[in-house]
Symmetry: C2
Subunit: 146 residues, 2 copies
DNA sequence: AGTGAATGCTTGAGGTGCTTAAGTAAACAA
DNA sequence: TTGTTTACTTAAGCACCTCAAGCATTCACT
């Protein structure tokens, strides 16, 4: 118990591994997005639009300034992947909605994350369940804004 | 076993969870870096400098163009966190070395990733080992440049 | 109602990150 | 020697990001 064994990784090792996997997945996502002429930021925004969303809500989700979202949505709108709609109840609000083409593009981006899909396929049902359970336990603590 | 049970997540669920955790960790890292006046990119570069590293090697590690690294190292050097040294064997090469202050800053950034550390602390030794083993199996497939 | 504060969005300035193209210097190979 | 490759830098151009300011609308309180 005193020495480091392969079975008990140090926190630093676990942290490094987690970072490496996060980086790899992000690169896979960015590459798939680029394949469709999108930056990763644009793809990330598009990925949030399962329904209409106010600019402000988008900024909150992305944890960035609202003025930043203006530019990103401008570019997406310029490509016809997104639309700005007036809100029915608050005339200050503009709801962002994905167009049919926008939904189609983000669906394809998700499908084309080959490296990530391939890696996940190497896990059996039981291992997937174990991994999912462990990560689910990690998630709430990680998203806490300390 | 035939129906979807809470124990057998779909690949999409697992993918989403992995993305959420990757994002959360990245934000934690960026926040800690910002706390020391660094951008996340600058911190990432500093994190690679356990020893002297040529500009070219740095670019390869970051998977970006060499001209990009010039600017990042310029800014780090301007703050005295990094030094460019001539290479003993190849006069074309400039080795980047972290200064004492640079090493100190990146050490503190790592320590201050509170959210991540806290989340990892909720896992016992056995769970950590299990998670580590599963992630280690995932890693090679994810880093494959397909 | 009427007035002041808070909210949602946009614009503009300034800095960082990233890529491509071009240029310099040094190493290498024929 | 001559020609090619390699390491780094510079410059132009765009995307991202923040802050400060400004406009329109809504809200809260008297």
């Amino acid at each position: 118990m005193s020495a480091t064994t392969p079975e008990t990784p140090t926190k630093l090792q676990l942290l490094e591994l987690l970072a490496a996997i996060g980086t790899a997945q992000w690169r896979d996502f960015a590459a798939a997005a680029a394949h469709h002429g999108l930056t990763s930021t644009q793809a990330k925004v598009l990925a949030q639009l399962s329904g209409p969303l106010p600019m402000r809500a988008l900024a909150t989700l992305l944890v960035c300034d609202a003025s930043n979202v203006t530019g990103i949505v401008d570019r997406l709108e310029g490509r016809g992947l997104v639309r700005r709609e007036a809100d029915a109840h608050d005339r200050r609000v503009k709801n962002v909605v994905a167009t049919d083409e926008g939904r189609d593009v983000i669906r394809r981006v998700r499908e084309e994350m080959q490296a990530t899909h391939g890696a996940l396929d190497t896990l059996g049902a039981e291992d997937s369940a174990t991994l999912y359970a462990l990560l689910a336990r990690l998630r709430p603590g990680m998203e806490k804004d300390a």
